[in-house]
């Protein structure tokens, strides 16, 4: 017994936190990836997440298969991201970092309203696939199978991203571009194409996060707003531009939120901000952020 709760319940709550944190990880990874290379803070990240959930609703109705939907949604959302970078964000490079930020902020309004026109202002249901319904015994008790799947899917995706960035030659170009885009350009690489790809990749991951969390959290047009704030908190805690930071901070925030909702339910929503304030006081650059990197 700890704090009046049996240890099994605490362990289950820990897993709930990790499942919640997995979604945060995916969001923060996409946000961090885009910022690390383009120095664009994507204020439409929550809107892309919402777009992912609604693309899921659309494709599952159209294709009738959850797994196929899971593959198609990131492609569809990534395609929107591709267009946004090419036609809206690209003209703003060199104009200062606040302009793309404000542009994506305005874009979020447009995306949310378009979805509201197409799908209605009310929430829509989204069920987990039959094979993932029910609970699995994980030693300390029964845990929803779908949440276990979300944790696993996030782990696989983060690993794949890490391998892509660290072990492939294209990943090398991306990392070089994040360090000094001018030199990469001088070496004869079309950096604007790399930026295009990375923006699309970041938004595709956000879209995937949206469809993955759709069965856990409800699907409605404004769902992206609170998610955007959560993604920012995670990024500030972890340190912008760091993959490891996004993973650790995402899981940490998830666990903190789920534990507070057990011990002090009224404080659950505020707990992550308290954590962020603490990190700002002790280590303003974030847990994994390098001092002075972001300027």
């Amino acid at each position: 017994m700890i704090g009046g709760f049996p240890i099994e319940l605490l362990a289950l709550q820990l897993f709930t936190g990790i499942a919640l944190g997995s979604v945060f990880v995916l969001l923060a990874v996409g946000l961090s990836l885009i910022f690390g290379l383009l120095t664009v803070v994507n204020f439409a990240h929550g809107a892309f997440y919402m777009l992912g959930a609604y693309a899921g609703v659309f494709f599952i109705g159209y294709l009738g298969n959850f797994w196929l939907t899971l593959a198609v949604v990131p492609l569809a959302v990534g395609a929107v991201g591709l267009a946004v970078e090419r036609w809206l964000v690209r003209p703003l490079y060199g104009r200062g970092i606040d302009y793309p930020l404000m542009l994506t902020f305005g874009l979020a309004y447009v995306l949310v309203e378009v979805v509201r026109i197409l799908f209605g202002a009310e929430g829509v249901p989204f069920d987990a696939p039959d094979s993932l319904i029910g609970a699995v015994n994980i030693g300390v008790g029964y845990f929803p199978a779908y949440r276990l799947f979300v944790i696993a899917a996030t782990a696989v995706l983060v690993l794949a991203l890490w391998l892509f960035l660290e072990k492939t030659s294209y990943g090398l170009i991306i990392r070089a571009g994040a360090r000094d885009s001018e030199i990469v350009r001088v070496l004869g690489i079309d950096i604007s194409r790399v930026w295009l790809v990375v923006f699309a990749l970041g938004t595709a991951v956000a879209g995937l996060a949206g469809v993955l969390s759709a069965p856990m959290r409800s699907v409605f047009p404004d769902m992206g707003t609170s998610v955007l704030v959560e993604a920012f908190v995670v990024t500030v805690v972890g340190g912008m531009g760091s993959l490891a930071g996004a993973v650790v901070a995402g899981l940490l925030v998830g666990v903190v939120v789920s534990m507070t909702s057990l011990f002090a339910p009224a404080m659950a929503e505020v707990s992550m901000f308290a954590l962020m304030a603490l990190v700002l006081l002790v280590r303003p650059q974030g847990l994994f952020g390098k001092k002075g990197l972001m300027g």
């Binding site: 120095t39 200062g96 970092i97 874009l107 949310v112 309203e113 707003t225 920012f232 009224a266 304030a277």
Partner: protein, 330 residues
């Protein structure tokens, strides 16, 4: 950041209309107040005019940080909302007269800005927008939870100030025109004070920070403290706007604290012209009048406003007033 140079307002010369603009720039407080004095007679109904006054003041306060200091905050809803709630709660729950209640709203907004600003200036550059947004959302959740005081989701109701109880004057806020000039009196004071601050050495410090933070530091300016102070002053102005809004609406909607209210300040300041004295009022006027017209035609106002904002970012980053100044000074 590439901002419309506020000095444009002073150096405009030569062309037609230029004398008018330069005259307005020299007497900017008189120009703003003169216009606002006759303003309610130009609009179909006074409630819209009061809204424009209040949101103009809100955008003006925001512009100190955004336009003059060059730091983008996405958390000003916290100060607008805190001002609103403190004034409202003082009147509804404690029966405080309206004037001390207004003062309380302004002070609490300033305290909120001191805390949020203190945390946010520990980060630099692009983090600022993210941290201010997150902390203001935290204020939103906190107020939402304090249901006994704030009314939670339904907002705070019953902020009824009808009789102003000024000795010798029989003024009632039920008359919309009286309400307009009641709000106008406070806005006039704030606009005058704002202009004084900009004209003071501190105003020069703000612009020095915007133009080159490192050089400002090298010149011996305490950049961190100046940033924090500007943030607090900006919070005070936004708090006053919020406090007046509570009395104007007689309720405090929970949306006053929402992310969208923060975004409203950004949109209005950019639409009008950031870093210009008239910009925030021009922005508030344009925004609210468009909203008034368009929400009659369609419910999808957000699609329009988002699109308009994106359009301005791409093609008219100086905003309406800033672009006008730019054209005339060429």
């Amino acid at each position: 950041m590439n901002l419309a140079n506020p000095q444009d307002e002073l150096t405009v010369s030569g062309r037609r209309l230029a004398w008018l603009v330069s005259g307005m720039a020299r007497h900017r407080v008189v120009a703003v107040l003169g216009f606002l004095l006759v303003f309610p007679f130009l609009l179909p109904y006074e409630a819209l005019a009061v809204n424009i006054l209040i949101y103009g003041l809100y955008a003006l306060g925001f512009n100190m940080v955004f336009g003059y200091m060059g730091v983008l905050s996405f958390g000003h809803a916290a100060f607008f909302g805190l001002g609103s709630y403190a004034t409202g709660i003082a009147i509804v729950h404690y029966g405080v007269p309206w004037l001390p209640a207004l003062a309380l709203g302004v002070i609490l907004a300033g305290l909120g800005a001191a805390v949020i600003g203190g945390l946010a200036i520990r980060t630099r550059g692009i983090y600022f927008a993210m941290v201010t947004l997150a902390l203001s959302q935290c204020v939103y959740y906190l107020v939402y939870q304090l249901e006994d005081l704030s009314g939670g989701e339904n907002g705070l109701r019953g902020v009824d100030v009808y009789d102003l109880n000024i000795p010798g004057l029989d003024l009632s806020l039920i008359d919309p025109l009286t309400k307009y000039y009641f709000v106008f009196a406070f806005v006039a004071l704030a606009v005058w004070l704002f202009s004084r601050i900009l004209a003071s050495p501190f105003g020069a410090v703000l612009e020095a920070i915007r133009e080159n933070e490192n050089r400002a530091r090298a010149c011996g300016i305490d950049v961190a403290t100046s940033k924090w102070l500007a943030f607090v002053i900006s919070g005070l102005f936004c708090g006053l706007a919020g406090a007046l809004n509570a009395i104007h609406l007689t309720i405090v909607p929970i949306e006053s604290l929402h992310y969208h209210t923060s975004g409203l300040a950004v949109m209005m300041a950019l639409l009008g012209g950031m870093g210009t004295f008239f910009g925030p009022f021009v922005g508030a006027l344009t925004f609210l009048m468009l909203e008034d017209v368009i929400t009659v035609i369609t419910v999808h106002w957000q699609l329009f406003v988002g699109g308009l904002f994106v359009f301005f970012i791409l093609f008219f980053p100086r905003g309406i007033w800033g672009t006008l100044l730019h054209w005339m000074s060429r």
